[in-house]
Symmetry: C2
Subunit: 438 residues, 2 copies
């Protein structure tokens, strides 16, 4: 196996975590290899009590490399709600492990030297990875402090749950995708969201004065992270402390419906709409409609803001297997655990994707020809693959043609997946091809 230094990306962009916690001062430092930053080896929170220099609290949880521990222990840092698994039996995932997958090779984008799957898993700082083929677990790996019954923050993979749920409520007629947001949330009438349609919010084609640039410490996303409860309130902070206090302050900029721009606040608006049309907290609806029907092994945790609103744009913490169950349900056109959980038409609509032209305007260099539909990233490749993606390497990769689902948790020092898509995407494709061969 190649050494880490050969594989590592140039350390040129600052992780959202680090930026939020420390500002960009570490930008030029080396992050340390995955092995050097293994949270179990570093002894975070070991001992009774842990020595002061090994303690992690909400205030230092997002420092690097503490984040390699805290991504697995978010509920120990702040208030969370339970996304209940319900009371039913666990839907067992059959296991048929394969030894051939680690050695599968691929060519990273823009490189001249091949890597193996095992190298790719390490290079992205994966904390856990599971591959389902035809519904059977063919690989399941845990690293650092992770294990099968340990949840991990899914970051923006959360959005794909929220988007799917929204599509389900549209299919039920509870939400009109062509209605303006203000029909459901009058509090947003005067904001940039007021005249956007639900569909525009779902597909993130809203025009808003809001920046999600992870390399800018003054970006709107920092204010979002505080208001949503995803990061602690800094001393002296006088901005909004609850997500529903923050959303109405976001102004319009440009026009809606003219192109894709990734902004987490759109997802939080969906959560608000879900709560309004159901009269329930949105994570409760997620449990009733999806989580409790998947035969999940565990309740999931979701981060709350100071008013008890769940962070549906990035705050879900599931176990790896439970995330795999959701991916598998999507792959099977919504039918899993003996029941039609998600209408097949909803899955078809999502996996068909949206406008590639709208998407291209966002300029993702690693995602040519992709689109963004209902909070999912759609590749439009020959396998019909589509993804849920979260910063620092969280992923659900669904490849219908290969009958494969890959789920991954990671704690990459860099936030944007674009920084390691050159490894991840061809690696997924190579595994798919290997599984299709035998």
């Amino acid at each position: 196996m190649k050494g880490f230094t050969e594989l590592a990306r140039p350390w040129t962009s600052v992780a959202l975590l680090m930026m939020l916690a420390t500002g960009p001062s570490l930008a030029q430092q080396s992050p340390g290899s995955p092995a050097d930053t293994d949270p179990a080896k570093l002894g975070w929170m070991q001992g009774s009590p842990p020595p002061p220099d090994k303690r992690i609290s909400f205030s230092n949880a997002r420092l690097w490399p503490q984040s390699r521990w805290s991504f697995a222990y978010y509920r120990e840092l702040t208030a969370t709600a339970r996304v209940s698994r319900g009371s039913e039996s666990v839907a067992k995932l059959p296991v048929a492990l394969r030894e051939d997958l680690d050695a599968v090779t691929f060519l990273p984008l823009g490189r001249s030297e091949h890597m193996t799957w095992a190298e790719a898993v390490e290079a992205v700082y994966a904390d856990a990875v599971l591959i389902l083929h035809k519904g059977r677990i063919v690989q399941e790996r845990y690293f650092g402090v992770m294990n099968a019954d340990q949840p991990h923050i899914a970051m923006s993979v959360t959005k794909s749950y929220t988007g799917t749920l929204t599509e389900m409520l549209i299919a039920d007629g509870l939400i009109d995708e062509n209605a303006p947001v203000s029909r459901y949330v009058p509090e947003l009438a005067a904001s940039g969201f007021g005249d956007a349609t639900v569909r525009q919010v779902l597909d993130m084609t809203t025009g808003l004065a809001y920046s999600e640039d992870y390399t800018d410490p003054n970006a709107s996303v920092v204010k979002y992270a505080i208001a949503s409860g995803l990061r602690p309130t800094p001393p002296g902070y006088d901005g909004p402390r609850a997500i529903y206090d923050y959303l109405p302050t976001i102004a319009k900029q440009g026009a809606h419906g003219e192109g894709f721009t990734y902004r987490t606040v759109n997802t939080e608006v969906l959560g608000w709409i879900i709560a309004r049309v159901t009269g329930k907290r949105s994570h409760q609806v997620l449990s009733e409609r999806i989580w409790s029907r998947l035969g999940a092994e565990h309740d999931a945790d979701i981060v709350l803001d100071s008013a008890g609103t769940p962070a549906v744009g990035g705050g879900l913490n599931p176990t790896l297997r439970d995330m795999a169950r959701f991916g598998e349900a999507m792959r099977l056109d919504g039918r899993f655990n003996g029941q039609q959980i998600i209408p097949a038409a909803v899955v078809a609509r999502i996996s068909a994707g949206a406008s590639k032209e709208d998407f291209a305007k966002a300029g993702y260099k690693t995602l040519p020809g992709w689109s963004y539909k209902s909070q999912w990233w759609v590749s439009h490749n020959s396998h019909g693959a589509y993804m849920a993606r979260g910063v620092h390497g969280q992923a659900i990769y669904i490849d219908p043609k290969a009958e494969m689902v890959i789920v991954r948790f990671a704690s990459n020092p860099q936030a944007g997946n674009v920084n390691f898509d050159d490894i991840s995407l061809p690696a997924y494709q190579a595994i798919a091809e290997q599984l299709m061969q035998n």
Copy 2:
């Protein structure tokens, strides 16, 4: 059914909750009936977002009647850890509901008028109650904001889990019950615990300068509640903020082994010993040894202090059915879900109780002839009944002769169970007799 006002206890003692949150000023006010303080009817945390006067946060969660909501939502107020259910199947509890139990009558202690079981359940401000007879659910009720997959804080019922776990580690030879505490926790050598034996800590016969008087706002238990993370740190507080910072400050007072005095800090010392002898966090040991083997429906939540230490003296939040599974495992001499979870000798040792003479010194007027053994309350009655008890009405009542387990969550405005034992205890006995008849 009798009106509430007839049934209500005189409002003479101040709930721990209220005391911690507001001081004793509400002591003379009427608490309001169970129906009038129903948290669902009062609309706590309803709406998206909830209106400001209906919001509950950690800082006001222990006000009355907000506590009727917050006892079910502790994890939404502060950091908690997961006591994992593991990955195995749910051990289904068979259901054979009986309609005759609500009308069972009994005479409350010191009263001349009979009550029914249904009246008793309401009078104690029960949030949920479940009765198992021969392993089958014969009654299961949820009130207010509770339901089958909603956890509820178990308060000092938590201690009985911790005590049982300690006995299991003693049985395994990992802990010597006759060793001084300082052998396992040198940090406590200079404290009042230093020369106490593990057995004295387990049975709460330590002599300590520590008061658990819930009617005294300056009692040590307030400092405990802050240090353990069970209540928020008040502005200006400069005392210990972590339980392992607090325990070493407790001095000796009197002699060890001369009588029972109920002090939660003993249980926290057990948690520390468990962590030291296993090298794991104690809630992780609880999961491995007990929770993950019960076929639990849900992970449980446990409140953490600022250093990540679980509050093993009062911070566990299980669902009602999962608490029933534990009670049933105890009733069945430790064998449940197809396996011997707790050694039969451990159950026998606990249920046999300790010295009645030692217990009598504590002066519990509602518990004549009882004893306290390994964090369980033992009745020594003709049925061999024993209990886990938590403030405000949390209970596991195990009646081996009647083959009955009753589990109850409550949010009684009064802290001490002694304030409503006059109803609870004869009610349990009456149900036991009814079940034994047919």
